[in-house]
Each structure stands twice: as C-alpha cells, then as structure tokens.
C-alpha cells in the first residue's frame, strides 16, 4: 500500500517535471495537429458523468469533484476546438437534477454562476479566442442571479467566431421535443398576416376559380362528369364542383395565400379593392398555413440546437450506457454513440483520441465504399470517380492496412 502511494507520488513528480511536461505538451500538440489532417466531426456532445463517483472514490467533497470535472471540460474543449470541431454540446444539468440534495444543487448553481461571470470578466479575451456560448434549456427554472450571469455570458460571446459551446443547463430532451412541438403548433395557429396576399403566389386563386367557374358554365355539367369519371376519380373531384372544392381548402388548409372563401364570393369587388377583400376574409375566417407542411425539418428548426450541424458523435463517460434524456431527437439517426469506462474528471485526450481515430477510420472507409455499413452520407462531399480513386489510393498509402 505505502509502496503504491510512493510510486504514484514519484509518478506525479516525474510527470510534473519541466522536461517531461514539455514533451507531453508537444506530443499532445502533435497528435491534435495530426487529427486535423483527417475528417473531423462537426458537432460533438458530451455527457459529463462521474463527477460524484470520482469524488466518492477519491474521498473528496462532491463539489470538489464537480470542480475537477470543470477542469476536464476545459481540457477537452481545448482539444475539440483545436482539432476543428465546430460545435460542442455538453449536458451540464438535467431538470431531474433539481431533485438532488439542496446543498449540491446550490453548489452546482454557484459554480455555474462563478464560471460564467469569470467568462464575462474576460470579455475581450473570449472575443479573440473564445467560442460562442449558448445555454439551452429551461432558463425559467433558474434563480434570477444565475439567470443574470447566463444572460451576461451569452450576450458577451454572441459576436464570437464560428465555434459554439452549447451548455444544456436545466435540460431534458423530452422537454425540448415538447417545447418544439408547442412552438410549432403556436406558429401554425397564428393567422397569416394579410398585408399583400397577392404577392405570395404567382397565380391568383380567385382568378383560377373564376376561370373554372366560367369553364363549367360554358360546358354541360353532365358531359363533364361522365367524361372525368371515365378518366379518373381524382380529376372529377378537381373539376366537378368548384364551389365545394374551394370552400374546403380555403377555410383551414390555405397554404401560402391569405384569400379565404369570402373573397371568392365577391369576385367583382376583389378586382377593385383587393385589400379590403383580403382583410374581410381574415376577420371572418382566419387563414392558416396548412399543418401538412410540417416536416421533420420544421421540428428540427424548433429544437434548441437549431442552426448547428447534425450531431456526429455523442460521448458519455463513466460506463453508464444510456442517454438519460439527452439529445434524443438529435442523436437517433446517424450519430455514433460512445460509452467510455472512465469517470469524467479523468477524461483526457488519451481517452478521446481512440474515439476520434475510430471515427476517422470509419468515415474514410465509408467514403471509399459508400455502400458499406456505417455510411455517414451526410457530410461526405460527393466526388467524381477519379477523385474517389485518388483518395482511395492516398488512404491506402496513408493507412497501409
């Protein structure tokens, strides 16, 4: 037992001696520079798990464990940004974590406040080197003083470069998805503004209705229906009964235009006073964007991570192999999920490097052979055949395996 303590002291002393430290620093620089040569994930997420366990196993205060965790975060952020990762998302605090002991929650909040206000003190430094800080989550659950620190830090860094640090601070993914749904619903249930509806579509719907009506009046209704029946059922509904048809989509399913059924009834007025007709329609029967235009992209744009590249990699430490309500929407498609058996305060380049190398290997392999499993088609630029050949040749040379 004493032996091991002495050994570890010796090791610490050895590692801390200037030449060794210099060598290690340079080796790290070299490895990061090497990583830059290959493909790099654009967006990496971390679940910083294991601070408490680390504190317990090393016999230190839980708060101290969180502090060490913050150091590990700074370390890994440095590695990420230097190697070219654009966006880093970290899971700092879950909404569920409010259930922990008050002492710990307060300590965590305090730490967040101190760190964020320290960031704010270094405003100009962050301007030069730093990343944009964004805080994702239910900010309304925070205490006012913490919220003030958050806002200050976010404001200060909002003009920074293209690197982004997303801090998920009171966050759960289900809450995020629900908020996205709610916001989408709110967007779609606000009536369209009727400033100049005619400018929205190149064709005027009222004009089309007018034409169809004129056509129908001209042709015999019986001929028309028998004709379209023989063609197809669809066309018959399209041309048969314009009034019935128009009534329906105009009320709710108006897509992109603000004219409503009332405008079609006053066709004569419409030409003379388009503005009046439109407003009239709006007050009596508001027009909405059709809910059918909601897509995955619509929801993705309402997620808190909007505007960031798709999540390429999610890393969770401390060998807990579940997502715990983090980035569910973002990571369930092409993200590579990695669970590492290391506690977060110990997490360093040496654990991160194999993960990155594995990712690079897989990416370059999937680019060589797009048919293979693990094809991240999303970020591989399409290349011509000879380009592919050249790359394959190069990769063959580079890897030698």
């Amino acid at each position: 037992m004493t032996d091991s303590i002495h050994l570890s002291r010796l090791r610490k002393w050895f590692l801390a001696s200037p030449p060794i430290e210099f060598a290690i620093t340079n080796l790290k620089e070299l490895l990061i520079g090497a990583l830059r040569q290959g493909p790099i994930p654009q967006h990496v997420a971390f679940v910083m798990d294991g601070n408490r366990r680390f504190a317990r196993s090393h016999g230190i205060e839980t708060v101290e464990g969180h502090n060490l965790g913050f150091e590990a975060l700074a370390r890994i952020l440095e590695v990420c940004y230097k190697s070219g990762v654009k966006v880093v998302t970290i899971y700092a605090f879950s909404i569920e974590n409010f259930k922990r002991s008050k002492f710990e929650v307060d300590a965590l909040m305090d730490m967040a406040k101190v760190k964020l206000s320290q960031m704010a003190q270094h405003g100009d430094l962050l301007d030069r080197y730093g990343a944009k800080v964004r805080v994702l989550g239910r900010l309304d659950l925070l205490k006012p003083d913490v919220l003030a620190a958050v806002n200050k830090a976010v404001d200060l860094t909002s003009r920074n470069g293209d690197r982004v640090l997303n801090i998920c601070f009171p966050y759960t993914s289900r809450d995020e998805i629900t908020s996205a749904i709610r916001e989408t619903v709110e967007d779609y249930s606000t009536p369209l503004k009727s400033t100049n509806g005619a400018g929205r579509t190149p064709f005027s719907e009222s004009h089309i209705t007018h034409n169809i009506r004129a056509q129908n009046l001209g042709t015999k209704p019986h001929d028309m229906s028998s004709d379209s029946d023989s063609l197809s059922a669809e066309s018959s509904t399209n041309e048969d009964d314009p009034i019935l048809r128009n009534d329906y989509p105009h009320r709710v399913y108006e897509s992109g235009s603000s004219f409503s059924s009332s405008t079609t009834l006053h066709l004569g007025q419409q030409d003379g006073h388009p503005q009046k007709g439109a407003t009239q329609g709006n007050t009596s029967d508001p027009a909405f964007i059709s809910p059918e235009t909601i897509t995955r992209q619509t929801l993705s744009d309402h997620m808190l991570t909007k505007g960031t590249p798709p999540l390429d990699m999610l890393i969770r430490t401390s060998a807990v192999e579940r997502l715990s309500d983090f980035m569910l929407w973002q990571c369930h498609e092409n993200t590579e999920i990695v669970f590492l058996n290391v506690l977060w305060p110990e997490f360093d380049l040496w654990h991160f490097l194999p993960v990155m190398l594995g990712w690079q290997r897989r990416i370059s392999k999937s680019r060589q052979n797009p048919e293979a499993e693990g094809n991240f088609a999303g970020d591989s630029p399409e290349s011509s055949e000879e380009d592919l050949d050249a790359r394959a040749l190069r990769q063959g040379k580079v890897k030698g395996i």
Partner: protein
C-alpha cells in the same frame, strides 16, 4: 494545457472563493497556454489577419510547411498503429466470440437457455433489437429467421416483450408470413404441445395472434421502422396544429405528459381487433435494453422518444471485412447483451 503548478494556483483560488486572483492575474496565468491569435483560421479574423499579413509578410513559410508535413506523417503513423491495434482487438474478440459460441450453444433447448439466464440478477422486461436488412437476395428470409430466433430465445429466457426495429419497415408488410415463421420456430424449440402463444403487431396494424393469453411464457412482439420515429412526432404535431387552428386546444396544453401519452398510445398498446380488452397485455413503452447488432452503436432512426432511459449494448465489430454490412444475430451476442444488462461478467464455463 496549463502546467501543474498553475493548475494548483487556480485550484487554490477556487477554494478561496475567487479572492486570490484578480481577472488580470488569471489572464496573465493563462496567456502562455492560449493559441497565438495568428493561428486562428476563423473567418471572423480574416480582416485582422489580412492587416497583419500586410504589416509583416509571411514569416515562416518553410517552418509552416515542415509543420504540416510532420502533422501529415503523424496522422499516417497514428492511423497505422491504430489500425493494427484495432485489428488485433477484433481478432481477439472474434476468437472469444467463437469460443463463446461453442461453449454457449442453445441446441434449441429451452432448458439450456433458462439455465444460462438463471444466474442473472435482472432481466429486461422489454427488449429491443436493431436489425439490418442485408443486401443479398435472400435478405428478407434471413431477417425473418433472425426475428424468429430472437423471439424463441426471449420466450426461453422469460422476456415477455420484444420489439424489433428494422429501418425500411419491410417486416411490417409481411406480418402473417412472419407470424407463421415464428410459430414454426417456437414449435421447434418448445414442441407443439407447450408452444407459447405469440402476439405480433406493428403500429397502425392489427394484432396478429390469439387475443387471449394462455401460458406464462407468452410473448408480445412489436415491429418498428423508421416511420415510427421522427415521422410519428411530426404526425402528432400536425394533428395538434390542426386542433389548435380549429380552436380545440391551446398550445399551453401541450406538456411532456400529453406527448408521452400520445406516443405511447401508438407504439405500446396492442390494438385489439375486437377492442374488447385492451389492457390485458400492455407493452411497456420504454425498452429496458436495446441490443444493436452492428459494428458500432448507431441508432439508425430508432424511435427517439422511448429511448430516454434505455440501456444500450452493441454486439460490436467482430466479423469485420467480407460482408461489411450487418452483423449476424447469434445467440452469444444476445447472451452478452443480457449479461451486460445484469452487470455480470461473461464466463468461459457454463
């Protein structure tokens, strides 16, 4: 990377609640470790760097060139070493896998499988698997056979709920045939006399199988595809938006509980044909364990909402190379997943 001594200073300062150092001190402490502004290649600094390059022309072209060449060399070297290590690890795992395959073979005997899981501290109530459709001609037959095997193992191990995710959803289109295949497989394991009954269904499809559970080791099997993931949430949003437009719902009513209830409704309740007793065998909405039969952990569109607390296990990249796509579904992979879930170690003796 700050050196140890300066790290100690920072820690001491943290302990003293931030009184030991002024912001200026901290900046001075960190200065040596920050990157040189000239190295930053962000578009933001394009203007300033242009100014700089005007004032002092490029200083070290040769040094930069050598540096980049060194980095390129280091990249090649690390990837060569990493490749060798990965191959060695793969070979090791392949050997272990083969040994396990010999030691733990189920021989289609429920008793053996039961014996294998008896020592486990906990078993998942609801197991999910992600399977991939291969590219050969008989891919569908292989896939259906895999589903049948998995179902049989689950009945033997005492797992009552299984959900099978396959991205394209091809399984959903042949539920009756699949039911037939699984039933045959179950009969070959358990014998026709005490064959467990099987309920097979997919979201928006009717339940296929007997409506009244008979034996203890019945199994409910749910088929999922990528349309049950984001698309379901999109559909829910559409419906909610429509309701809100018609004034039947206010956006404030949308809570996680509501969304959870709706999504659970779609994937978790077997919709009975007669609709008489729907609460008989409810499927647990969130799977306890997700087994990924593939070279690495990628969810590939698995329904996100349900994954909140699911443990994940990937059988790993063992049979690397030849086929390249998909991983064979083998009994030892299934067992390793269960061991992992129970927190047990695999052993080389039964």
């Amino acid at each position: 990377m700050p050196s140890r001594s300066s790290r100690e200073t920072i820690r001491a300062q943290i302990r003293n609640k931030g009184d030991a150092l002024t912001p200026a001190d901290r900046e001075a402490l960190l200065k040596p470790y920050l990157p040189d502004p000239a190295d930053l290649t962000t578009s933001r600094s394009a203007r300033s760097s242009r100014l700089r390059s005007k004032s002092k022309p490029r200083k070290t072209p040769i040094r930069t060139f050598i540096k980049s060449q060194i980095h390129r060399l280091a990249y090649a070297l690390t990837h060569i070493i990493f490749g060798i290590v990965v191959r060695l690890i793969q070979a090791y795992h392949a050997v272990v896998d083969r040994i396990l395959a010999i030691v733990y073979h189920h021989h289609r005997t429920p008793e053996l499988i039961r014996k294998d899981v008896r020592s486990l501290k906990r078993l998942p109530q609801h197991l999910s698997v992600i399977l991939t459709l291969r590219k050969e001609d008989d891919a569908l037959a292989v896939l259906m056979d895999e589903v049948a095997e998995l179902t049989a193992w689950c009945t033997c191990a005492g797992i009552a709920q299984l959900s099978v995710y396959e991205k394209s959803g091809v399984l959903k289109s042949c539920i009756p045939a699949l039911h037939q295949i699984i039933s045959t497989k179950l009969a070959s394991y358990h014998g026709t006399s005490q064959q467990p009954s099987l309920q097979l269904y997919a979201p928006h499809h009717a339940v296929h199988g007997p409506s009244t559970p008979s034996a203890a080791n019945d199994i409910t099997c749910l088929l999922l595809s990528s349309t049950d993931g984001r698309e379901t949430i999109v559909d829910l949003t559409k419906t909610l938006a429509e309701m809100s437009q018609n004034g039947k719902l206010s956006p404030e009513d949308i809570t996680p509980e509501l969304v959870d209830a709706e999504i659970t409704e779609i994937t978790a309740h077997p919709v009975r044909g007669n609709g008489s007793r729907a609460s008989g065998s409810l499927l647990k909405a969130e799977p306890d364990l997700l087994l990924v039969f593939g070279p690495f952990l990628k969810l590939d569109g698995f329904p996100p909402w349900q994954l909140r607390l699911t443990e994940m296990y990937c059988t790993g990249d063992r049979s690397y190379g030849a086929t390249g796509d998909g991983e064979a579904v083998e009994y030892q992979g299934f067992m390793r997943g269960l061991w992992h879930y129970a927190g047990a170690q695999m052993r080389f003796g039964r």
